[in-house]
Amino acid sequence: MHLQSHHRKALRRISLTPLADLVFILLVFFILETSFVEFREVAFKVPDEPTKASHAEGESLSIQVFPGGKLWIDGESLALADLSQWLLRQQFSAETAVILQAEDSVSLQILVEAMDLLRAQSLPRVQIQALGD
């Protein structure tokens, strides 16, 4: 009896402070190292021919992309924001290959936005090319 009581007292004397310290350190580590960003992807086929001269087989649509999201399609100037409406009017089939011909200084963000809009209109066959000379 006496021994048991002594043992319990000894256990109670173990301080919780080091445990709390350690848990806090682990917490800070996990807060700093973990990320909650979920990355997505936009995948496309790498063209079989050099990206400057290739032409897609079958039905194709060439879109010239300029900085700031300005587009030039079939002799028509268009803003990126109006691309969806334009595509809706044209009624392209899902098999249509779309070639984005980007001017050198066009940012990847603009190209990805254009690809997003094309995919939203069921045009997944997209290639990126340099704007021809």
């Binding site: 109670r12 004397r13 301080s15 919780l16 402070t17 445990l19 709390a20 848990v23 806090f24 682990l26 917490l27 996990f30 807060i31 190292e33 973990t34 990320s35 909650f36 960003v37 979920e38 990355f39 997505r40 992807e41 936009v42 995948a43 496309f44 086929k45 790498v46 063209p47 079989d48 050099p50 990206t51 400057k52 992309v65 980007a102 001017e103 050198d104 200084s105 066009v106 940012s107 990847l108 963000q109 190209l111 990805v112 936005e113 690809m115 997003d116 995919r119 939203a120 990126i128 090319q129 340099a130």
Partner: protein
């Protein structure tokens, strides 16, 4: 003035008071372990483009491209030919599908020659890593 009890009682009291704090901290710790993910965050200065894509990034050999055109692999600056030879030195072939974590501000003049080089290395599919557009989760 006040009787705070013996030193032993005070210590016991202070330890008992810490229990909710420790419980809470453990819960937070578990939350971060379970919900957070350890991404390869050595490329934190690369801000991938925003997109509305709902396709989660698939596991693939990943290259990073900063806005200034520097190519990175496993946290080290490299070139595509070096990358291919390093893969070969490790006994691996150049994968047909490559993931590219490029900065959203990278100009087309940097991206397009890179796509051409990947084509020469027999890469057939390129996945651009993106993040959700704001307000889209």
């Amino acid at each position: 003035m006040f009787d705070l009890g013996s030193q032993h009682d005070r210590k016991k009291l202070s330890d008992d008071n810490m229990l909710p704090v420790i419980n809470m901290t453990f819960l937070l710790l578990l939350f971060f372990i379970v919900v957070g993910n350890f991404s390869e965050n050595y490329m934190k200065d690369i801000a991938p483009p925003e997109s509305s894509s709902q396709v989660l990034r698939q596991e693939a050999e990943e290259l990073s491209l900063s806005a200034d055109g520097t190519l990175w692999w496993r946290g080290e600056a490299t070139t595509l030919s070096n990358w291919a030879s390093q893969l070969q030195a490790e006994g691996q072939a150049v994968p047909v599908r490559v993931s590219l974590r490029a900065d959203g501000q990278t100009p087309a003049a940097t991206i397009i020659p890179l796509i051409d080089e990947l084509r020469l290395l027999k890469v057939t599919r390129l996945a651009l890593v993106t993040v959700n557009s704001p307000g889209q989760y």
